[in-house]
């Protein structure tokens, strides 16, 4: 979770390989309950990592990421249920729609900064939510779209787990290359010091817009997978409380690390399941955990958010990429 990208290049890949082998073998040894749960974790990890492209790397606090997740889910539901298309098509169109909406919304949102950026993303996401919620003729309104068909071959819990895992891993590798490309390093530069990066000739608004669009695309994939996972799509997927989840996962796992949000997704779901067995009050516990995290470790995970201390705390070690 810590360490610069260089040490990850040197020692990280073997670990990543081990984790992947573990993820591949583990369904053979556990019950169906854990396989279903792991499928959810895998999809949420994709969602959280896509969010962290803009949150952790570009320093943009969007409160509307659920919009692209939900849109992906509805694309999948509409294509496979209403238009009886193959699932693969849904999974290919979902990122395109996610990216298209993210580009348009992002184009407007780039005009604002900080708090007003958060509010504008929230407003756009709520607007989409209302439209989905009210458009009974097309989206099924508040009922959502039930009974989304899944191909025969993926209809066991294990096979869908492997499918979701494969798709997520592919997306994570793509995102890994994106954040370690010159483009990814430019995003970090913009996050650290927008003015200085402008002097270097980086068009910060354009770079951020591209990052926002890419994040929307991967959120769309996550939405498509999630729709097939639960076999329905409902407006709640776009609601602002859903937007809070990837923020929480990024914070829980660590927003300044590539795998942080995935770790956050594991912690989030594990915590939820452990608590739900014991009490009905999962939100209460989540709230207390979150509040404790925010209040007691301001110099820890969350404290990194504080712009002025960030270069001192964590970026002394990081060297620029090899030219």
């Amino acid at each position: 979770m810590t360490g610069s990208s260089h040490s990850f290049w040197r020692t990280g890949w073997p670990w990543a390989g081990l984790v992947v082998v573990g993820l591949l073998l583990y369904p053979q040894f556990v019950s169906r309950y854990y396989i279903v749960l792991s499928t959810e974790v895998v999809i949420l990890a994709l969602l959280a990592t896509s969010y962290n492209l803009i949150f952790g790397y570009a320093g943009m606090v969007s409160f509307g990421h659920a919009a692209f997740f939900g849109l992906g889910a509805y694309v999948m539901a509409l294509l496979t249920k209403r238009y009886e298309s193959p699932m693969v098509l849904g999974l290919l169109v979902a990122p395109v729609v996610g990216a298209a909406f993210a580009f348009v919304i992002g184009w407007f949102c780039m005009r604002t900064i900080r708090l007003y950026f958060s509010l504008l993303t929230l407003a756009f996401a709520q607007l989409l939510w209302v439209i989905v919620f009210q458009w009974y003729g097309f989206t099924g309104g508040s009922d959502g779209i039930q009974g989304v068909p899944r191909p025969e071959i993926l209809n066991t819990h294990a096979s869908y787990y492997y499918f979701a895992l494969g798709t997520t891993l592919l997306c994570l590798v793509l995102m890994w290359f994106i954040v370690n490309s010159p483009f990814g390093w430019s995003l970090r530069a913009i996050r650290e010091n927008t003015h200085r990066s402008q002097f270097l000739g980086i068009n910060d608004r354009f770079y951020k817009l591209i990052a926002f669009t890419i994040a929307g695309a991967f959120a769309g994939v996550a939405g498509g997978l999630y729709c097939q996972f639960q076999k329905w799509a409902d407006p709640d997927l776009l609601f602002w409380t859903t937007s809070a989840n990837p923020v929480l996962m990024s914070i829980l796992g660590g927003m300044f690390s590539f795998v942080g949000p995935s770790v956050g997704a594991v912690v989030f779901v594990a915590l939820r399941e452990i608590i739900k067995v014991r009490t009905d009050y999962w939100p209460l516990v989540l709230g207390i955990v979150l509040l404790t995290l925010v209040l007691t470790v301001p110099g820890g995970i969350v404290g990194f958010v504080v712009e002025k201390t960030r270069p001192l705390l964590s970026f002394r070690k990081v060297r620029p990429p090899a030219p």
Binding site: S118, L120, Q134, T241, L284, L286, V294, V306
Partner: protein, 297 residues
């Protein structure tokens, strides 16, 4: 689309019901905008305080009963919520004034989750309803349509409150300090003013307003979990359109959104809410700091 006959009494009726909605929105959004103006914190838990106010009111009215119950609730609920506000300010907000927006948003978001479950534990998950106090039961007629007297009472309260807030901000010593704290808290502190105390006072006033909104709305509809999130988003829209931190803005924003609801639901029931968010989007794009606000420092 339903056929609407646009005679004078219909229009007046729509304006009056729009004003009722606007009144509640103003009372809640005024608290949100006051807290933001001075503390520079978006209090996501503001809607939760409103919900707690409504539930306290329901309990008081149920226990005491009669006309006295409502009046007691009108005093007890806002005060109770103000007390909760004091606890939140001491326990949470005081520690995060210097933090980034995202930290403040997450901390107050955590409070939403906590309050949601605490309310569920205390009052259960069922919806509650409160009858209109006997003194304001019945209705007046506008043209040939009835309009509830209680709604007039709510509008009157909002107007009194707007006047009261104006007096507080512009005609009292505390108000002078609050205005100074908005402009330059560091300078004020250098002059020997106890800034943390001002911040506490402002947050407690904000909580009081949320609680008051909760009591007033109780007889208008059902009280239940989820009302916190609904009002929070609507109050957000009002405060953002008017300009975060601005009272006249909150008043105007509440008027605009109230009318959009009452006319929108009559003209195009499905689209009313979409228009509201569209209005917020447009204002944020053209003038992110709202109609009466100032650009972010």
């Amino acid at each position: 689309m339903s056929a609407v006959t646009w005679d004078l009494s219909t229009i007046i009726l729509l304006i009056m019901s729009g004003l009722t909605r606007a009144s509640i929105l103003f009372i809640v959004a005024a608290g949100l905008t006051l807290v933001f103006g001075v503390l520079r914190v978006i209090n996501m838990a503001h809607g939760s305080l409103y919900m707690v106010g409504a539930f306290i009111a329901a309990s008081v009215i149920q226990q005491v009963g009669g006309a006295g119950g409502f009046w007691l609730a009108l005093v007890a609920a806002p005060l109770g919520v103000a007390l909760i506000g004091a606890v939140i300010e001491f326990g949470v907000l005081r520690r995060i004034y210097q933090a980034e927006h995202v930290v403040q948003l997450l901390a107050t978001y955590a409070l939403i989750l906590i309050f949601d479950d605490l309310v569920k534990m205390t009052w259960g998950a069922e919806y509650k309803s409160v009858s209109v106090p006997a003194a304001f039961a019945g209705s007046i007629s506008i043209g040939d349509r009835p309009f509830p007297i209680y709604n007039l009472f709510v509008i009157l309260w909002a107007l009194l409150l707007a006047a009261g807030l104006w007096l507080l901000i512009y005609r009292t010593g505390l108000g002078r300090l609050i205005r100074a704290a908005v402009e330059d808290p560091e300078m004020l502190e250098a002059l020997g003013v106890n800034i943390p105390l001002i911040f506490s006072a402002v947050f407690i006033i904000g909580a009081f307003l949320a609680g008051l909104g909760g009591v007033l709305v109780a007889p208008l509809g059902s009280i239940g979990l989820g009302m916190d999130v609904t009002i929070l988003i609507e109050a957000f829209v009002v405060a953002v359109i008017g300009g975060l931190g601005s009272f006249p803005g909150a008043l105007l924003g509440a008027g605009i959104i109230g009318m959009m609801f009452s006319f929108g639901i009559t003209v195009a029931p499905r689209m009313a809410m979409a228009f509201v968010f569209l209005a917020m989007v447009i204002v944020l794009i053209i003038r992110p700091w709202g109609l009466f606000g100032e650009p972010e420092r």
